[in-house]
Amino acid sequence: MDIKVRYFASLRDRMGRSEDQVSFDSENVTVADLWGKVSDEPIAEKILVAVNMEYTDTSHQLKNGDEVAFFPPVTGG
């Protein structure tokens, strides 16, 4: 299962990169599992998650080809 991961704003600065491509052998993977693979630190409480551009949470079950984004609270407008 292949997942594209994107980081924005202060989180991108902290990760030192704007995206990752992550592969899993298992089909049973959540957003929390994905985070564990891209970072050694626990995910900050305020960090937001989107899967395929819809807001969701870390319990979300992923499927092949999903695009997952992690970012801090939004500050537009």
């Binding site: 994107r6 924005f8 704003a9 202060s10 600065d13 989107a50 551009m53 807001y55 984004a69 970012f71 801090p72 609270p73 939004v74 500050t75 537009g76 407008g77």
Partner: protein
């Protein structure tokens, strides 16, 4: 409904007038327009310039959702949102929201809803460069308490 995100300088009233030409003439009694400009201060620090990051695709989708919610809730003929991204300086217009309706109450309610929920949900992130040369990501937006209360009432 028109929603777009641009790196170009934003001429808010030109956008409003251009869009208004696409509406049936003489049917709307009023339009409420909000123009958000970049201020040269935030939380006490002097801001020299600002860079606005966004998530292409997701940003537009969530602005469209907010506009659709406003059109479902109030009797609105049409809505327009143009949001600038990238680098800008103080006084640059950053966002324009317009809502046309037969009755002004619907225009006011819809315009205010759109700018408030756009700010709450559309993925944009402000990064400020201060006059001292410090770069920092803005951590949270100022609130519009009127609308927060309203939302609590609605969901209660």
């Amino acid at each position: 409904m028109k929603v777009f995100v641009t790196k170009e300088a934003l001429d808010p009233y030109k956008e409003v007038q251009e869009h208004e030409k696409t509406l049936p003439a003489g049917k709307h009694g009023g339009v409420v327009v909000f123009v958000g400009a970049m201020r040269d201060f935030n939380d006490g620090e002097n801001v020299k310039s600002l860079s606005l990051d966004h998530y292409p695709g997701m940003t537009e989708r969530h602005i469209e959702k907010v506009c659709q919610e406003a059109m479902d809730e109030w009797d609105v003929m049409d809505t327009l949102v143009v949001h600038r991204v990238g680098d800008m300086v103080p006084t640059d217009p950053m966002v324009v929201v317009a809502a046309w309706a037969a009755h002004r109450k619907d225009s006011f309610d819809a315009c205010r809803y759109i700018i408030n929920y756009l700010k709450e949900r559309a993925p944009f992130w402000k990064c400020e460069i201060t006059t001292e040369g410090n770069k920092h990501w803005v951590e949270h937006n100022s609130e519009d308490p009127g609308v927060s209360e309203r939302k609590l009432q609605k969901t209660a």
